[in-house]
Each structure stands twice: as structure tokens, then as C-alpha cells.
């Protein structure tokens, strides 16, 4: 990776609306120079392997990018079929930032072509969360109603079969306000729980806090909002940057104090670790860099404790069979599969590691009317492996993947923390 000289001006001074700003943004684009056309990205792209509608990451990334001019309307609509899973960048042996190039190009395309209402809504889960939580039973009934879902599909393009989460009717933040942390603890951590936990899976947040406390951490839950990833995925870069800045402001005091920031959504933590810096071009934001360096995935963090001998390994047997799927964006962390290391500590637990790249949902991609079928084809291999293993539970680190997989397989799907929580006897 080449060094990035400092860009003149603030990030918005050099960005045009959705377009990436600064030199790093251009260096993501510039990484297309490394492409030698080897086809390795194509062979691993889950989307282009199931549909000819998407010409593949090599084509829409480094190849087409040579034909794009910033400010010109984009000429290739097929780019929109990229799911943003990021597998192409992971497997590229030459360091081409393919997924990042695609993401930036798509944002520029949507800037000129316009962003549909559906994508604006899907880009703001906290909006849905805030609206739906007080009226959770009604909201859930609406989402479950087949006729209303058909209408939604027609009107805003949300596929009728897309896996939608259930509103919990309460927020995790509320629980956290009322929760008393232990009096003493070996260390402090800040919990970056994400929208999914807050509005749909507050129980996961509770379990995470309990598990961390069980292992000697005093957990603080700062006020926080969305990380901006759904906005970024839907091409609304300006708004996404605003969300990132607000979240960073919340987490900054912890980073400054040397407190580790732990997250349960591998997508959201990846956003802070790298995507906001590379795709949104916010590398020059010193506050973001400070927070970014302090962020850990919860399994990553627990394994770090384990390596220091500070993890409680007195776990109860769980005589069950589970499958484990590492989401694409978990793989994007480049930390291996710490969930497997942790699950290996649970006596009598049989873990079947699935060997499939992507479940298909890719955040909000698989919810969309025109992409749902593709998403289901992408995930077909994974679903078949899960069904073949016949597990009691399926384990996966990312919430949107869990909802999608659970609906497709019928197998209850949980975060690794849920199993560890149970094995720790905290259930």
C-alpha cells in the first residue's frame, strides 16, 4: 500500500457529495493498478457465480473503473448487482481494493441516477427502529402480514419474502441505563452494540454484558447510534459520513482513555475498523483513526483475554451440535475465526464449520425485490450444509445474516456470545 500524502482541505472540500474524498479515496481507486486480470476475484464472487446479471468483480471494479470519470454519470448499471460482501478484496492476491472501488463507483452512480426511497429507508435502521419500537406488536404484525408485504414489495421494492427482524418493543439502551455494573473489575470496556441489538435483539446485548462482566470487565454502554454502514451500502456517502462522525464523537472519550471498544456486530465493527476510512474516504479524520484502532469484535476480544490467561474457561457442557458460519464481513476483519476458538472451549459441543462464502443477504442487499432471488441462490450452498449437519442451533456473528439464515433453514440462529453465555452458566 502506498503512503498517502495529506490532502489539502477538509474532506468535504475535496468530495463531491457522494464521491469519495481525499487522496486515500483516490488511492482505493488507484489500487486498480495492481489488477493483473488473474480472475481469482471472479471465481470467488458469490453473486456473479449465480447470475449473469452481474458481470463480476474484475469487470465492474478495476476494469470498468479505468473507463469512469469522476463527475460523469456512470455507464454501467450492472454495477448495482454487487452485494458489497467484500470477498473479492479478501481473495485478491495483488491488493486491489475491488469491493471498495465498486462501492465508491456505485455511490457516484447513485448520486447521478438518484437513490430510491426504499434505499433511503433501508439505509436508516435507527429510523425504523425508533418508529417501530413503541408500536412493536403492530409493526411486527405488519411485517408478518403477507398482503401488506406484497404491497410493500410493489410500492417500495422490499421483497415479500425478505427476512425482517422482529421489533423487541424495548431498546437495549434503556436496559443499559437501568443496569448497575459490578463494583470492581479488572478492566473497563465500552460496548458498541449497534442498531440490531438495540431495537431487535436487546437480549443479545444483555448476554454480552453479562458474559463480559463474568470475565472481569466493567462494561460501559455509551449512548450511540447507527454506524452508517447501511447508508454507505446504499450509496448515501454524505449522510453516512455524518453518522460516522456522530458515533465517533460518542466513542472518542473511551478511545482516548485507552479503553477497548467491543462490538457484537462484525459488520458494524468492520465499518469503524476500515470501511469508513477506505470507502468513505475519512482516513484524514484523526478522531476516527483513534476510535478505529480501539475497536474489537467481541470474539476477537475474548480470545485476546484467553491468550493472556484472563478468560474464565470453567464452562458447562453443552451437548449439542451447532454449525458456525463466518460472515463475509467478519472475514474482512482478518482475525481468523475467533468464535471457533471460543466454541472449542465448550465441553461436549460439536461444532460443524460450514464452508460457504456468503449467506447472500449482504446487509440490505438480499431484502430488495430485484436481488432477493440472487441472495437466495447465493446462500443455497450454505443452507444445504446447515441442513445436512442437522444442528440444534446455527451460529453466526452478524445479525442480518442470522435473520436471513434462520428464515431460509428454519434453524434458530444465534450469535456466538449466546452459546458462551449459556456455557458460562449465566442463562
Amino acid at each position: 500500500m502506498s503512503a498517502a500524502p495529506a490532502a489539502a482541505g477538509g474532506e468535504d472540500a475535496v468530495s463531491v457529495g457522494g464521491a469519495p474524498g481525499g487522496v486515500l479515496g483516490d488511492l482505493m481507486r488507484g489500487s486498480l493498478d495492481h489488477c493483473v486480470k488473474c480472475t481469482i476475484c471472479e471465481t470467488h464472487c458469490p453473486v456473479s457465480n449465480v447470475t449473469p446479471l452481474f458481470p463480476g468483480p474484475k469487470y465492474v471494479g478495476p476494469q470498468a473503473e479505468r473507463f469512469r470519470v469522476a463527475g460523469e454519470a456512470s455507464q454501467d448499471a450492472s454495477l448495482d448487482y454487487c452485494s458489497g460482501c467484500g470477498i473479492c478484496t479478501q481473495v485478491c492476491p495483488h491488493g486491489v481494493h475491488i469491493a471498495e472501488i465498486n462501492s465508491q463507483a456505485r455511490a457516484r452512480m447513485k448520486e447521478t441516477a438518484g437513490v430510491p426511497l426504499r434505499d433511503r429507508i433501508l439505509g436508516r435502521p435507527t429510523l425504523a427502529g425508533r418508529l417501530g419500537t413503541p408500536v412493536a406488536p403492530l409493526a411486527n404484525a405488519t411485517l408478518a402480514s403477507r398482503p401488506l408485504r406484497r404491497v410493500a414489495e410493489k410500492v417500495i421494492g422490499l421483497h415479500r419474502e425478505a427476512a425482517m427482524p422482529t421489533f423487541a418493543g424495548r431498546t437495549f439502551q434503556r436496559w443499559a441505563r437501568a443496569h448497575t455494573p459490578p463494583a470492581t473489575a479488572a478492566r473497563r470496556v465500552a460496548f458498541f452494540h449497534g442498531c440490531g441489538t438495540n431495537y431487535y435483539e436487546p437480549r443479545l446485548g444483555e448476554m454480552t454484558v453479562a458474559l463480559l462482566e463474568h470475565n472481569g470487565c466493567a462494561v460501559e454502554v455509551p449512548r450511540q447510534d447507527c454506524c452508517g454502514l447501511p447508508l454507505q451500502s446504499n450509496g448515501l456517502f454524505g449522510d453516512a459520513r455524518g453518522y460516522v462522525r456522530r458515533l465517533v464523537a460518542r466513542l472518542l472519550p473511551y478511545a482516548r482513555a485507552g479503553t477497548d471498544i467491543v462490538g457484537t456486530s462484525t459488520s458494524c465493527t468492520l465499518m469503524l475498523k476500515r470501511e469508513a476510512r477506505e470507502i468513505l474516504g475519512m482516513e484524514d479524520d484523526a478522531d476516527l483513526r483513534l476510535v478505529s484502532d480501539a475497536v474489537y469484535d467481541v470474539c476477537e476480544y475474548l480470545v485476546m483475554l484467553h491468550e493472556r490467561g484472563e478468560l474464565r474457561t470453567d464452562l458447562r457442557p453443552v451437548p449439542e451440535t451447532v454449525t458456525y458460519h463466518a460472515p463475509c464481513q467478519q472475514q474482512g476483519h482478518g482475525i481468523g475465526k475467533p468464535a471457533l476458538d471460543l466454541l472449542a472451549l465448550v465441553p461436549e459441543l460439536t461444532v460443524v464449520e460450514t464452508d460457504a462464502a456468503c449467506c447472500g443477504v449482504a446487509g440490505t442487499y438480499g431484502l430488495k425485490r430485484e436481488k432477493y432471488d440472487i441472495a437466495m441462490k447465493v446462500g443455497a450452498d450454505l443452507f444445504a450444509q446447515i441442513e445436512a449437519a442437522g444442528p440444534d442451533t446455527s451460529v453466526c456473528d452478524s445479525e442480518t445474516c442470522r435473520w436471513h439464515m434462520a428464515k431460509a433453514t428454519g434453524v434458530p440462529t444465534v450469535h456466538p456470545v449466546a452459546l458462551l453465555h449459556r456455557a458460562a452458566g449465566l442463562a
Partner: protein, 539 residues
Amino acid sequence: MTGLSADVLVIGGGATGAGVAWDCALRGYDTVLVDRGDLAEGTSGRFHGLLHSGGRYVVKDPSAAHECVVENAIVRRVAADAIEDTGGLFVTPPGDDPAYGDRFLAGSAEAGMPVEEITPAAALAREPRLNPGLQRAFAVADASVDVWKLVWGLARGASEHGARVLPYHRVLALRRSGDAVTGARVRNELSGEELEIETGFTLNASGAWAAEIAGMAGVEGVHVAPGKGIMIAMNHRLVNTVINRCVMPTDGDILVPIRTVSVIGTTDIRSAHPDDLPVTQAEVDAMLDDGERLVPGFREARAMRVWAGVRPLFEDKKTGDTDSTRDVSRSHALLDHAERDGITGFLTITGGKLTTYRLMAQDTVDAMVAQRGDDRPGTTASTVLPGSSEGKHYTLGTRLRDREAHLDDDQIVCECELIGRRRLEDTMRARGTRNLDDLRRSLRLGMGPCQGGFCMYRATGLLHGIGRLDGPEAVGSLRFFLQERWKGVWPILYGDQLRQARLDDWIFQGLLDVEHLPGDDAGLPPGPDTVPDAEAAVT
């Protein structure tokens, strides 16, 4: 030997020659155009692609600058589809004298060139890769020109008005009848057949080779100094605006975005002969340093190809013999041999720059018309070329958009340049192509970053498949292509490009074993002849 007759014979199929043929044809003359190779294989095919705003000359040569201003506006109109309206910037990087900018502004005013000084921050907002330490910046009306579209547009236009355009016809001798030049004997390089052309007037538009042709007419004392300049095409557009260094014209002071690449140029070294254009390591290093000055990180970016172009510099003996040919006059030179040498029916046009091709052509044809005593005024300033009738400029995304429309019914053969199978096969059939190297020049097949690593096997199979070549010929053509391509690559083979070359070695030699066909001895390229060392195409 067969023969043909015409009113005018134009020798040289570059921008000037094609422009002359177009002008003549429009004025109703029965015209024949010949070139020893493909059209635009000489200087035109090897320049950096810049349609000058004139800014480069405003201080040194304001009248030349003014010529550019006027012609720039005309060419944008009549050859719209060959022009990409990139705009241009003159910038003062750190270390250069900012005071030159004032002379630049003054010269611009004198030359009538539109210019606007903008802040460095505005320049960087427009082009984030520029040197952040820029001191000054000026916006001008530079553009980049696709010389193939231009030259083939001119040729097509001329043909539509009855001209005969004959590439691959080499002039062997000029015919004299007393003091008049009455035509030429040419050889069809593809068939070997010789042809006698009888004309009333012969126009020598062979640019850097003008002296050779003039000599055939018995004209003495014409010296055209070949001013060699190297250019490096960088793999992608580091900038989308033409960037000029705001100094007195020097080496490596232009960075031109043209199609998918950005071209840094150029050097200026007297060469012995227009076909002898070696690329030296020292020049390459100098260009990379010059690029680094304009765009920090240039040396980490991927250099795709290097080639040498040749400027035709008509030597006025009064300036003397210097290594740097930049001091020799850059305006064009129209030689009236009747007046100069007592030889009628013959004019030579040489020197000049591509931006003023139309003016050069017009001056030439005007002179011929005057000598013939005809009354036929020129109309090229207002006649739009075929393909440009909608007045729309070329945009980079065109090929991408066209490919998008055929994703589900065509195959991509050359991925880097987005060339589809149908187009390739159609071209092969229509042109009677017998070697892949021709396609390299015209379609830019294999001219992208992969250096043919993936597309050349496919293209070889297709060329064999349409029955044009047999097995060993096809593989021979592939080897020949690889050898030709290598010429423009090895002087800049470092970093990413070396990685590509090595991968291509693995594919061609390690996987396909192209260098060992049954029946080969040393396993090396039989292949068609080519113009020696002619690193033909600009990207």
C-alpha cells in the same frame, strides 16, 4: 503494372495528409492518398493526444499560440467525436518560479487565449492527485484528441467525396516530366503489386519523412530534423484534466488524460533518422521524475507503455545544429518548390503540430489551388466530419456503456479495452487481417495493462477460426504480437507491470508453451514484416 490517375496525390496518411485529402476532396479534386503503412502510423499515431489550448506557446511564440486558439475551437466543432473536453490546467508546482505565471497571463492576453487563474485549493478539488504544494493554477481550454478517430474520420470523409485512400502503399519513386512532378510509382506492401499513379499535383505531407520524399522529386536542401520525444502511458487516469507545468516549455511538462490512460511527455532529442527512435533509460527516469513533480506518488503508479514519437522539425539553417530540437521553429513550413526549386506540381508541408493540422492542410491546398489558377475556396473550417454531426464530444464511458448493452449476447475478448468478439471478428473479416499486430493498432487490442496476457490467446483462436491463418501461422502471429508488445513495455517494466509480465510468462510459456510447437527448431516468431522499430500506437 496497373495504373490510376487523379487530380491530386497526397503522400502521407497522418493528420496532415488526411486533412489535405479531406480538403482536396471537399473542393472537388479527384484525390488519392497513400501511406507506406497504416494511417496515422507516423508522428500522428505516436503523440500524446493533446489538443492545445495554446497555453504552451503564449510566452515563447504568441502567434503560434494564437493559431492554436483558433484551430482548437474549429477542431472541437468539426471533429467533435474525436475530442474529449477534458479542459486543462497550467500549474506551478513547488520549486518553480511563480512569477512565470504573470508572463503566462500576459502572453495569453496577447494571443487571445481564454484563461482563468484559480486557487490551488480549487485545482486540488478538481484533481485530488495533484501536488498539494501547488503555488498557482490556471484553467485553459486544452482537450485530448483520439487521433484514430480524427484521421479515420478525415479519411472516411474524403472517401465519401470520392477520394481513394490507400494505406500500405509505399512510394518507390516520383515521376518527373521535365520540371514537373507528374505522379508516383507505389508498391502495395500487402500484395507486393506495384502501381503507377498519374496526377497533376503531388502534395508531400509525409511529415518527418518529408525530406526523403522531396529527394525523390529531385528537390535538394530540405532538412527535417527528427525530434524524438518519449512518452509513457500510465495505466489509469491519474488526472482527468490536462495538466501542464507552468514554465517555459521543457521536458516532461505535460500529463494528458486520453481514453483510459494518462500520458506523461515528453523529451526532445535529435535523432538520426525518423525510423530510429530508441527509448533510453535516462529518458524514462526523467519522465518519472517529472511525473512525480506533478503527481506525488507517480513512481508507485503503474506505467503501462513507453514509446517514442518523432516531431518533424523543418530546419531553418540560421538557428544552427543543437541537441535540443525545441529551439527550431515549431510553426509549420510550407515549401513551394516551384518558387524554391523550379519544380512544379509539387508542394511539401512539414513541421507543425497536430492541433493545427487543418490550418496546415488549408494552407497547402490553397497554395496548390493558386498555382493551378482555380477558384475553389476551402470549407474545412465549417464542414463537419462523418461521425461528428451530432456535435457530441467523446466521453470515456462510451465503451463501457456500449459493452453494458451487450453483456448478455456478446463475449469480451480484450477485457482491458472492452473489445467484444463480434466487433473483433467483423474487423478481422472486413480488413482481411492476417496478423494480430494490425488489430493492436486500430482497435487497441492487447494494448491495455494485461499486455495481451488474456486476450491474445482468444484473439489468436478467433483469427484462426475465421480461416485467415493456419495453426502455425496463428501461433506465429501470437508470438510476433508478444514480441512487438514487449518493445513498448520492457523499458518501463517495474512494479505492477512487471508482475503482469511475469504472470503472462507463466500463461504463455508455462501453461500454453507457445514457444514450442511441433516442427519448430528454436521456437521463434515467423511473422510479417513491420516498419522497423516503429512503436506504433498511442494508446
